[in-house]
Amino acid sequence: MAVALTLVRMKVAILRHSGTGQRGQMMAAGGFLGLVLAAGTIYLATLGGDWLAAAYAVWMLGWIIGPVFSGGGDETLRPEFFSLLGLPPHRMAAGLLAAAFVGVAPAISLIALAGLAVGATAAGGPAGGNVLVAVPAMVLQLAVFVLVSKVAVAVLGIALRSRAGAVGAGVVNGAVLAFLGQAWVFAVAFGQGAAVPEFVRYLPSGWGLLAVRGHYWALGALVVLIVLLLGAWAALLSRRAGASRPSTRGRRPVRAATAREAVVAKELRTWSRDLVRTHQLTFALAYGLFFAGAPLALGWIGLLPWAAPLFVVMAASMTANMYGTDGTALWLPLMTPGATAADVRGRQQAWLVTVAPVALALAVVLTPLADGPWPLVLAVTAAVLGGGAGLVPLISVYVLVPSIDPRNRGGNPLRTSEDDGALTGLAYLTIFLVALSAAPAAGVALAAGWWGVAVGLATGALCFWGFGLLAERRLRAHGPELLHLMRTGRRPDAGKPGSSFQLPDMPKAQRAATVVCLSFGAIPLVPQGIIAAVMVSDGRLRHSWFLATYMPPGLRWPVAAGMVLLGLAMYGVGAWLPYRARKRAR
């Protein structure tokens, strides 16, 4: 217990120090979003049926997949800190577990798990008894969430030491994220539109709910699972040591003869040798394939060819911190006269060489399977390839997220930056901008068929050339500032707006929140809200992509209305945060 208490105190102290300034605001923003989700979960508890079990399944998947996106999860206290103390692994795991309960995410999850108490009263029967069961069920269920997350990160950490492991982890993670995005497809496919498939109830995420519904054995099962996970984590912790080893197979000689070719050669070697990058690309590929393939469960093949552009967009989003990932190595092109142009162009070229062949292969293989639409798929794929190759370096020099130098990444290779929130925001920003770069091509392809491909090639080339030029200018003008940011994690002139995006100078978390809200507000508002409502009122049910049309009768209008409200709220937050920041700046 002494170890656990000490670690808990240590974590509280660290959180107290980071609870101010930007980090604090980021925590507050994340916490707010979490509270909204938690409130939604508790509302589901009043509906009965398996909705609550499904929600908890999503929460658990979130705990598993979250660390992949946020750079390795909560690492306030790292196992490496204590490796010299010689603690037995199980005591260390128990101590770290106790400390892992301290924080925003576990607190939010515990609130969401209060739905168990609500569910207990809704289940009827001897209500008092069940509500009493809800308290241990909440705690045990939370312990399962936290431990599953820890074990997943530990397994991934070990997987990322070998190429096969990195590829495997990328496939699994991409599949899980795609599943989260398309969960409704499976819900509809298994539950025939009216209910959640029954097996969800029996997933470990649903055992707490089973317990409060009178199956008291589930409490015991939770305890057993916790003991097993703790044992697994302790075993994995003792294997976590040092940095990931890159592969050291034969080296092909560099054949480059010009500066630009040299950068391409360097980048391509880094792409193939850095397992973190291998993981990013496999992740993007798996995400594209699974996301586009998911509607096959409903017998709809139309989304399948879109795996190609989805892969490109996700690859751009995963690699958007291009300069940040290399850390302070930026000093080399800075110290070399005239090297910035070669550096940006070479990186663009290497990115394209890495991503384009896979994307084109996907498009060429999958489009005939779905029987077209050829012009639209090819137009969009060409446009996002150029858009990605242009936007990735541009974004990475404008909204650089300072990262840990590769050699200091330590035992958690997913952790490439200390600033998880900013990385996540960057990923969303990139998804939005790269997708946007395909809008002209998509529009023309829809209206005029094959002309769209020409437009896609043209906008792609324009993005590649123009955004590359902007990135190069920025790098030349602000190179030392970017290097300083990378070195220290701070912007040299906190007073000036850091970028030419029209957002005012505001903490990164708020900036990220604004970008996410403005980028994605349209999805709930227009297709899932307004269009779905029109369909519901027309009686056109079970329509391809519109969640409300799949709901049982009583839920159709509330879901559509809820989506509209969510969209409006997102735009509201996206407008209000910059407004407040501008007002404060004056």
Binding site: A257, A262, D326, L334, G338, A339
Partner: protein, 251 residues
């Protein structure tokens, strides 16, 4: 007209938030000199050197390399200077030879020149056995040596080295010293920072003591240290009282 010095720093200043890291530093490094910059940790050595070579923008002041202003005429200045920064990353997933090839081509050297120079540098620095090893797997000493190789690759006239001997084993240190002495003997100029006084006394002919962001004293080594050792003079200048004298209560 006298030829411009190898490095001329005047009035360089940098403030981070509240902290004045470098406060109007003036230094002149004569051509052909071996110049040592000494100071405690946090005295402002790294910040000064970063500003002097163009890796950190100063708040005020100028830095000139053989008369070329680092901030207004960067391409000329950066052609003449080779830099070994302390603790910055390299292209980590390349082997030593690949790093040198990449940088040489980036500098605009031809393929053959790059290959020949890389071969020679690797063999002189005793890195040629590590052709299969990526830089990320290098030891600290090897990192310093490959860093020195990148600084020398384009035949600079001035070397600016930040802590080149920190955490380097004696054998590697001897190699580095030999190369630096040879470089100065051949007409080059070297500026290095260190907090090891004995090393500076052994290598350098000029020295400057930096304390709390200012130059406490600068000039030829013999003038600066006077009668005693450089270490005595340093302690006297920075006014540090060794705190360890009291010992630790539980030992």
């Amino acid at each position: 007209m006298t030829p411009s010095p190898a490095l001329e720093i005047s009035g360089l200043s940098k403030t981070f938030g509240e902290k004045v890291a470098v406060d109007h530093v003036d230094l002149t490094v004569p051509r052909g000199s071996f110049y040592g910059l000494v100071g405690q940790n946090g005295a402002g050595k790294t910040t000064t050197l970063s500003m002097a070579v163009g890796l950190l923008r100063p708040d005020h002041g100028t830095a000139r390399v053989f008369g070329a202003d680092v901030w207004t005429d960067p391409s000329r200045a950066k052609q003449l200077v080779g830099v070994l920064p302390d603790g910055l990353a390299m292209p980590e997933r390349l082997t030593g030879r690949e790093v040198l090839t990449y940088l040489g081509l980036l500098r605009g050297l031809t393929k053959d020149v790059v290959a020949a120079r890389a071969e020679e540098l690797l063999s002189v620095l005793e890195l040629d056995g590590a052709d299969k090893t990526l830089v990320i797997e290098y030891s600290t000493g090897m990192r310093k040596k490959i860093g020195l190789a990148t600084a020398l690759l384009h035949a600079p006239k001035l070397l600016v080295l930040d802590e080149p001997f920190e955490a380097v084993d004696p054998v590697s240190a001897a190699t580095i010293k030999m190369i630096l002495r040879g470089f100065v003997a051949g007409g080059g100029s070297v500026v290095l920072s260190s907090h090891v006084m004995a090393l500076v006394e052994q290598l350098c002919d000029h020295v400057a003591v930096i304390d709390k962001g200012r130059v406490a004293v600068a000039g030829p080594l013999a003038e600066v240290r006077g009668e005693g050792s450089l270490e005595d003079r340093f302690v006297e200048l920075v006014g540090a009282v060794p705190a360890g004298a009291r010992g630790l209560s539980w030992l």
